[in-house]
């Protein structure tokens, strides 16, 4: 563990990514204390104020206000909570499904493997957005449903990676040797194969964080994600689009945050891959 962190900190880009993710995570967990204003309070008189304007109460809107006079900084901070929550939830659920499917499919082979792989092929044939849109319109839009939809669209990435690493491990001699001592299939799978597939799994998960945050925003941007009362980066981006020419700050800041978070997750993922999979 110590060696792992030493190696990771040697890779500067990965470290920067990691620190930024931690930073966003902290913001998301401390929203009520950090947000300078209530993100839901509307004030038509103070609509579309540019960044750094001080309002009549002597309060500075550091990032300006939106078309309904809500403080952009506060909404941005609240939005981080939803983005992180949804990404984490979807990584957790999708990852669990993918891990189990990959393990079982790779180890047992035969028809079980074929069924899962064809299922994955089928799902890959649908564009991600089309699939999510269909599912959200059936399930209705709520935070939980978005998590479910994103999990169901993302499990295949884990399943494929886990399956292929299981395939590369299951014929190694030490697995044969554990079989020769009479160990049961489940014990072999979870005690002896699982630890070897965790590294590629973690790497995929870190990349998925970026993909899922973007995916959640895409859904919110299209008005099909989280209910519109909740501030999310995607929805802010969608709102701001109409005012792009007069009030650029409404759309730019959430867009910037999305880009930075996704980039950090990718940089961190790259670093993780280098450390965990030395080749």
């Amino acid at each position: 563990m110590k060696r792992f962190f030493n190696q990771l900190t040697k890779r500067k880009t990965a470290l920067i990514g990691f620190i930024f993710l931690i930073f966003v995570f902290l913001i998301a967990s401390l929203t009520p204390f950090l947000a300078p204003m209530d993100p839901f309070v509307q004030n038509i008189e103070r609509r579309l104020l540019p960044p750094m304007t001080m309002n009549a109460d002597g309060f500075t809107h550091w990032l300006g206000t939106d078309q309904l006079g809500r403080d952009v900084l506060s909404r941005l901070i609240y939005g981080s909570r939803i983005s992180i929550m949804i990404a984490a939830g979807a990584v957790f659920i999708g990852g669990a499904i993918g891990l189990i499917v990959g393990l079982v499919s790779g180890y047992s082979g035969g028809w079980i493997d074929s069924v899962f792989m064809r299922l994955i092929d089928m799902q890959l044939a649908f564009p991600f957005l089309l699939l999510s849109l269909t599912m959200v319109s059936i399930l209705g839009s709520s935070i939980m449903n978005v998590v479910v939809v994103l999990s169901l669209t993302s499990w295949i990435s884990y399943a494929k990676v886990v399956r292929s690493s299981v395939l590369s491990i299951k014929y190694l001699e030490f697995i044969e040797a554990t079989r020769a001592t009479g160990t049961s299939k489940l014990a072999i799978l979870f005690r002896h194969i699982l630890p070897h597939v965790l590294s590629p799994f973690i790497v995929v998960a870190s990349f998925q964080v970026a993909t899922l945050i973007i995916a959640e925003s895409s859904l919110s941007f299209l008005g099909l994600g989280v209910p519109s009362s909740e501030p999310t980066w995607g929805a802010m981006l969608a709102d701001g689009r109409e005012y792009m020419t007069d009030a650029w700050w409404i759309a730019i800041y959430p867009g910037l945050m999305l880009m930075l978070v996704a980039m950090s997750a990718n940089l961190f993922g790259d670093g993780l891959r280098d450390v965990l999979d030395p080749q």
Partner: protein, 330 residues
């Protein structure tokens, strides 16, 4: 020998399905292993010796390798008819196996103590701490110095010889009656090899177990075996007590193997080789399998396949039309 043998392999045929046809890896192989006896199976790569051992363990690759015919009797019970679950209980308890490559036969993510303890916990249902103590005890038994420390090390911290000792300790956790050793010393250098063999002999006495030793190294055979089974291209071609194999081989293939072995007397001379290579497993020659490479081959050998016949005693068997000629040559 008297009482019934521990292991009897009767007319065993194993087929492998491949894209290019069916490979008859083992055909009608028969031999047995008595209690407390070491039997060596000798043969080139591809002669079917490893497949035979995997069949006994019930570890043939599923869907590809298949026991077509024959029986494998352990204490009179037919292993071929056992279910997966029954075989799993048998493996490790009654039969154990050690593998060729000690470098890759241990799981790199667990300490060796953990790995041995797992076997104890699985088969004897004892607690974690007790199992670890037993593991340390068994490490001491296979001659690993400072077992209390070694038990907490990972496989990469041990040398090849040490790892093979660990493998043996693991195989012996439940006092198996039969230990199958698939070229356990091939990957080790000669001094370590001698140590490991010596230790196996001692353990065999201590545990009163039988060893089925698979090797292509006749030096190891001379050192370990009570009896020898020679395999060529999937069939048993000769079976004899170890002294007889070395003094009076009856099959030309066995003779070829012996002549290809360097000895102190043959110093400075070129070693003899067996001409040619193993036949393509998909298209084995008609008649005697060995005839394309055999210096004694006649038309009869090209057409008719000899079966494994007793010569003199029950313990002496050969599958050759002209074994009597061979006696004259030597």
């Amino acid at each position: 020998m008297g009482s019934s043998p521990l292991l009897q392999v009767k007319e065993l045929s194993v087929h492998f399905r491949t894209d290019r046809g069916i490979v008859r890896a083992v055909e009608r192989a028969s031999f047995d292993v008595q209690r407390g006896e070491t039997v060596c199976i000798v043969g080139e790569s591809g002669s079917g010796k490893s497949v035979t051992s995997l069949s006994i363990m019930g570890l043939l690759p599923k869907g590809i390798g298949e026991i077509k015919e024959g029986e494998i009797l352990l204490n009179g019970e037919n292993l071929v008819q056992k279910t997966n679950k029954e075989m799993r209980r048998l493996r490790g308890n009654d039969i154990s196996m050690i593998f060729q490559e000690p470098m890759t036969s241990l799981n790199p993510v667990y300490t060796i103590g953990d790995q041995i303890a797992e076997s104890f916990r699985y088969h004897q249902g004892i607690g974690k701490r007790a199992a670890l103590e037993r593991a340390i005890e068994s490490l001491r038994r296979v001659g690993i110095p400072l077992p209390e420390e070694r038990a907490f090390q990972y496989p990469h911290q041990l040398s090849g010889g040490m790892r093979q000792r660990v493998m043996i300790a693991m195989a012996l956790t439940c006092n198996p009656e039969l230990l199958i050793a698939d070229e356990p010393t091939t990957a080790l250098d000669v001094t370590i090899q001698a140590q490991v063999l010596e230790m196996m002999k001692e353990l065999k006495e201590a545990f009163n177990m039988s060893i089925l030793f698979i090797t292509h190294d006749l030096g190891v055979v001379a050192d370990m075996a009570d009896r020898v089974v020679v395999m060529y291209a999937g069939i048993v071609v000769e079976e004899a007590r170890v002294e007889e194999i070395f003094q009076r081989p009856l099959h030309p293939y066995t003779l070829g193997l012996l002549e290809a072995m360097p000895s102190l007397n043959s110093r400075g001379k070129r070693l003899r080789t067996i001409q040619g290579t193993l036949p393509n497993p998909l298209q084995k020659p008609n008649g005697c399998r060995f005839h394309p490479r055999c210096p004694f081959a006649t038309d009869k050998c090209r057409l008719e396949e000899p079966s494994l016949e007793n010569v003199g005693s029950d313990e002496r068997k050969v599958a050759c039309w002209h074994y009597d000629q061979l006696e004259e040559v030597i």
